[in-house]
Every structure is written in C-alpha cells, then in structure tokens.
C-alpha cells in the first residue's frame, strides 16, 4: 500500500512536468482558435522551431538558459506573425475547411523545410545547467522538472495578465467575442490577430526549449505528437478558453503518467486520444466550456 502511494505521487510529479509542456502548447492552440476559429495544426511545428532556435542560441551564440529562451520566443513570435500574414490572412474569408487544410500544409512545410535545412538527424541539446536531483523521501524530482513547472507557471501568469489587464488583451477578448462589433468600435483586427499569433507562438517556443533542455534531444518531426496531444488538451479544457488549456494540459499529462504507471505504457496514447473521443461525445464544449446554442 505504501509503495502504491509512493508510486502514485511519483507519477503525479512525472505527469505534471509533462502536462505543463502540453499546457504551454495548448495555450497557443486555444488563443488562435478563440480569435479566428482556426485550429492551427502548424502549432506543434512552431514548438519544434522554438527548440531549434533555443539550440542555436545556446550552441552558436553561447547564450545561457534565460536569454536563450527569450530569444527563441522572440524569433518564434516573428515566425508566427509571418505565417499568419502569408498563409492565413489571404484565407480570412474562405471556408473554414480551406484554412484548416492550409494549416496542415504549413505544418508539412515547416517539418520538411527543417529536414532540408538542419538534416533529419536528431541533435543533442547542450546541458545549459547541471541537473540536480532532489529526493523527498522515496520521491524523486530533478531541477529540470522544477524549472519546467516554474517557467510554465510564470509564462501562464504573464499571459493571464496580458489578456485580462492590458488594453491589448481587452482588444483580443473583444475580437474573440465578436469580431465585427470590435471592428466597428475601431479595433484594428489584423493587429490583434498578429499579436495573438505572436503570443501563442512564443509560448510554444518556450515549451520547445524546455523540452530540449529536459529530454536532451530534438529533431524536425518532434512537434507532431506533442502538437496532437496539446490539441487534445485544448479540446479537453474547452477550446478557446485560456484557463481550460492549462487545466487540460495538466490533466492530460497526469492521465498519461497514471495510465503508463498503473495499467500499461502501451495504452498511454490510446488513453490520450480516448479522452478526445469521450469529450467530443459527452461534453464537446470542454470541461470549462458552456454549452452555447448555435443559431442556424
């Protein structure tokens, strides 16, 4: 019984550190969906780009962890804005399915473009700080897990502040609520959309750098699976709802850890996507979503 309890808490630690990465990526999904109702399938690849920006910042420019993560977030924000301008803006009034297909195209472009540029070989991320292992009785956590969690919390707090307390955030919320009305009130919708892409991409990039530091290995296709998982997390929390993405990410991470710990590691992905199916069947608006009757 005692070991079972220890195992439970150890899996909780494992799950929360994995979940906070999902949450960081899911935030971008949710914000972009909230503003232009687009599921940006290229988002997982922005996370991959972020990891590479961080990699080059540490290896080529010799930056330490915090400057590297900030540089990576800035570069990814720029890439996010460029992608929106080139790929999505011309499709603003096209049917939703056309934009969705464009997003998948952008995703492939980024994945295989990076294979061309940096080779498909996985690269090892330099150790930006030596991991210290902390033992709490029988439980083990290392400094990297703590850095991931703390960084994720700080970034989410900053995001919440921007969205709720600043003028730009107010504009974002207004556009998300009713784009046409916001435009009539004099809000520059294009600028708000650009800013949303910049913020979402920066968060994904932060996730990429954290993962690079934590797992020590990055490759051009690393964004595929976490991108899908983060999508599940966003839907689980209620797509378009910012706190929902955070909660969804953490829940998904913990569920995956518990399933591999107590049932079998082979069921882990099945559990994640099973959650997606269950949520879509029984609570399509997500855990924090309210059911809104659609006008036909």
């Amino acid at each position: 019984m005692d070991t079972l309890l220890h195992q439970f808490f150890q899996q909780l630690i494992n799950g929360i550190s994995l979940g906070s990465i999902y949450a960081l990526i899911a935030l971008g999904y949710t914000m972009i969906y909230g503003i232009i109702k687009l599921i940006n399938f290229a988002h997982g690849d922005i996370y991959m780009l972020g990891a590479y920006f961080g990699f080059f910042a540490t290896t080529q420019l010799g930056l330490s962890f915090i400057p590297a993560i900030i540089l990576s977030m800035a570069c990814a924000a720029l890439v996010g804005i460029i992608i929106e301008r080139i790929a999505y803006k011309p499709m603003r009034n096209a049917p939703r399915i056309a934009i969705l297909i464009t997003a998948i195209g952008v995703s492939f472009f980024l994945e295989y473009g990076m294979i061309l540029l940096v080779s498909p070989q996985p690269r090892t991320f330099p150790a930006v700080f030596t991991p210290t292992v902390y033992n709490f009785g029988p439980l083990v956590a290392n400094s990297q897990q703590i850095v991931i969690l703390v960084s994720a919390i700080i970034l989410m707090a900053v995001l919440t502040y921007i969205v709720n307390k600043t003028k730009a955030g107010k504009a974002m919320r207004a556009v998300s609520f009713d784009a046409d009305a916001a435009r009539l009130m004099g809000i520059n919708i294009d600028r708000v959309i650009s800013m949303t892409f910049a913020l979402g991409s920066a968060l994904a990039a932060a996730g990429g750098v954290l993962v690079g530091v934590y797992y020590n290995s990055i490759d051009p296709l690393m964004g595929m699976m976490p991108g899908l998982k983060a999508f599940v997390a966003a839907v689980l929390g209620g797509i378009g709802i910012i706190p929902g993405a955070m909660i969804g990410g953490i829940i998904l991470g913990v569920v995956e850890a518990m399933v591999s710990g107590f049932i079998s590691s082979t069921f882990r992905d099945a559990a994640a996507f099973g959650i997606l199916i269950l949520i879509l069947l029984y609570k399509p608006a997500g855990l924090l979503g309210k059911n809104v009757r659609e006008k036909v």
């Binding site: 070991t3 220890h6 195992q7 150890q10 899996q11 494992n14 799950g15 994995l18 294979i115 080779s119 498909p120 070989q121 996985p122 090892t124 150790a127 991991p131 292992v133 033992n135 083990v140 290392n142 993962v211 797992y215 020590n216 290995s217 490759d219 296709l221 690393m222 699976m225 995956e256 850890a257 518990m258 399933v259 591999s260 710990g261 107590f262 079998s264 590691s265 082979t266 882990r268 992905d269």
Partner: protein
C-alpha cells in the same frame, strides 16, 4: 483485413510498375560491359540514419578496394546505387522496387532494420534478386514464418536475434550474477520484440525471473512513468533491446530516477550519439551485445580499421564493418557464380565457403544465417570498451 488489402494493392501496383518498366527498357541491363550495379537500400535519413550512413561508408570502401584490384568477372567494376529507406518499412519497400525495376541491380545490400528488411523481402524474392542485410537480426528475414521455409533470396551478414538475446541472458546471469530482470521493449520494432523474447526464454531457463515487462514506441520522449513502475518492481537488471535514440533517453531518465542497476541491450545501441543523449556518467554499468569490435586483432580487421580511419576520419562502427563484409560477400558470390545474373549470385552465396570478413569467418547454414561469434561491449565513461567474447 485492411492490412491485407493494402499489401495486395501495393503488390499489384508493384507488378504493374515492374511490367511497365521492363516493357520499355531492355531486360537485365544490371550488368553492362563495364560495370555491375549493386543496390544499397539504406537508412540515409530518419531516426536510424547513422546506421545507413555508416553502412554506405563500409560498402564504398569495399567496392573501392575490389575495383582497385581489378573488379569482378575479369575487369568489371562494381557500382553502388543507393536508395533511402528514411528508416521506415514502407519506404524500404518502395526503394527495393525502384532498385530492382528501375536501376536493375543484380543484388541489394541492406536495409539494416529488421522490420524494413521483412517488408521489402516480398519484392526481392518475387523478382529473384538476392538481398543481403548487414545488420537485420530478426529470424523472419531469412525464414518465412508462414510456412517455415527459407527465403531463397534473403541473406544476412550478422547473427540472428535468438543468439543476441540468448547471449545477453547468459552474460547477465553468469557474469553479472543478476536474477531479477526487467524487460523494456520497443513495440514498433520486430528487432526489439525478437531480442526480448529470446532473452526472456534463456534467462528464465537458467533460473532467473523477469519481474516486469513494459513497452514503448519509437519517437517517445518521456519514459519516467514507465521507469517509475519498473523501479517499484525492484529489478537488479534492465534489458532494453531498442535503438539508440530512445535508449539514450531511457538510460538518462532511469539514472535521474535513481535506478542504478546494470542496463543492457542489443546492437541497436551502437552509435556515437548514445553517450551524447544519455550522458557519459549515466552510461556507466551498461552493456550491449554486438558482433563486431574495432579492437578485434585479426589482420583483415586491422587493415580495414586503418583504411576506414584514413577515409572517414573515425573508427568504423559495427554497421560499417558488417556492410563491408556484405559487400565482400556479394563480390565473392559474383565471382563464384562466374555470372552477374541475380539468381546465380543467390545460389553461389548460399554455398559460399572460405570467406574471411572483418567481423569473422562466414559460412551460411541452411536458413541463410551465418555461423560466427559475438562480443559484449561495456560503456566506461562514454567509451565503448571490449568486455568479453561469446562463442556460438
């Protein structure tokens, strides 16, 4: 059922394609007056790219040596045509199709991944072109599991999974004196499943027990939950017959969780990337079975290592060595057959004798598996160190 129809349509498409390409080109142009084309179906990109790149280096070196000595069949030069498997079984099938029907090669070297060789074997057996895999160790490569018959056109230069799993079980039980093993399998790979099966069989037969068996998928990055479960089972040895990318992460995370028991695996570990991914300190007390060590003191190996270092500025790994041997085997089979006709090469290959390669002497048994010795290699501060040699 779905898989079946997919395979069927693939085969149909392949046959159509083959019919088309023989229709417009002349047949059997693999051996022209001056060159004999040999295919290299290798993992040039993807998760196991280092396997294919090393193999290509080995084959290039072998062909250069042979061509410098006058080539084969009285003056014909050997030419290598490379097709990329992208480290995927489906791409291997496409590549095999292209090499045989478009490039008209007389024999194919590669791929190295067991799943890829098995997937592509239907094509080269159908076309009656011999294929030799440098490092595909799964038994099903040369023996069709459906009818238990030897595939006439598949050979390998390495020993088979039963042997690697069996050897590691003996080494763990006898030399490391461990009794409770955990087994962690890469569920996407036939290679991993094969090694694990024979490890478990021999380890339990000797009197040890497998206390927990878990699995992962290629491209996974987080293994902490699985490792936590393994830690609770308290094994004194962990067997991970996977490839270096995931194995590196697993070892790193295992040591972080405070799992300090010996960890061992198969030749999929053999890559310079492993110490980079796992970290040198974490790799201490880890072992893998392999069929080649560049420290081997035979004359042919010393010469090979020297030439390889001159050409590529690094020590040859096992993939380079086995691909080198595969290339020599193909060349010897062509000489023995006195012909560049694929079917005759295959026949000569099955009867090969007196062959000395850098990884040892090779004779094929009736299942097209070579009979040769194995080595156990230990990581000491990130450096591969020859530990012991185990005979069949």
């Amino acid at each position: 059922m779905k898989r079946g129809t997919k395979l069927l349509s693939l085969l149909t498409a392949g046959m159509l394609f083959a019919a088309l390409s023989t229709g417009c080109g002349g047949s059997d142009s693999g051996a022209s007056d001056k060159t004999v084309k040999v295919g290299g179906l290798l993992e040039m990109t993807g998760g196991s790219a280092s396997f294919g790149i090393s193999s290509k280096n080995g084959i290039d070196l072998a062909f250069k040596d042979i061509n410098a000595k006058g080539g084969v069949l009285g003056g014909k030069q050997l030419a290598l045509v490379v097709a990329d498997t992208k480290s995927e079984a489906s791409e291997a099938t496409n590549g095999m199709q292209k090499l045989i029907s478009q490039d008209k090669v007389v024999a194919v070297i590669g791929p190295n991944q067991s799943s890829a060789v098995i997937a592509a074997s239907a094509i080269n057996n159908g076309a009656k072109v011999p294929g030799i895999t440098p490092m595909g160790t799964n038994p099903d490569i040369t023996v069709n599991p459906a009818d238990g018959k030897t595939r006439a056109y598949n050979f390998r230069a390495c020993f088979i999974d039963p042997f690697q799993g069996t050897v590691m079980a003996s080494f763990a039980y006898d030399d490391l004196a461990v009794r409770k093993a955990a087994v962690l399998i890469d569920n996407t790979s036939d290679y991993s499943k094969g090694l694990a099966k024979f490890f478990t069989e021999n380890f339990t037969k000797k009197g040890g027990s497998v206390v927990v068996e878990e699995a992962f998928l290629q491209k996974d990055t987080d293994f902490k939950s699985t490792l936590t479960k393994i830690k609770v089972a308290n094994p004194d040895f962990i067997y991970i017959p996977g490839y270096y990318q995931e194995v590196g992460l697993i070892i790193k995370q295992a040591r972080e969780l405070g799992i300090d028991v010996p960890i061992a695996g198969g030749d999929g570990w053999d890559s310079a990337k492993l110490p980079e991914i796992a970290g040198k300190a974490a790799l201490n007390d880890t072992y893998f079975s392999s069929l080649y060590s560049s420290d081997d003191a035979s004359d042919i190996n010393k010469k090979f290592v020297e030439e390889y270092q001159k050409a590529y500025n690094s020590k040859p790994d096992v993939f380079a060595a086995l691909a080198y041997d595969s290339a020599l085997l193909v060349a010897k089979a062509i000489e023995d057959a006195k012909s560049a006709e694929p079917a005759k090469i295959a026949e000569a290959m099955s009867k090969i004798s007196g062959f000395k390669g850098v990884s040892g002497d090779v004779v094929f048994d009736e299942q097209h598996n070579p009979i040769k010795s194995a080595v156990i290699i230990e990581y000491v501060d990130g450096v591969q160190t020859f530990k012991t040699k185990v005979n069949p």
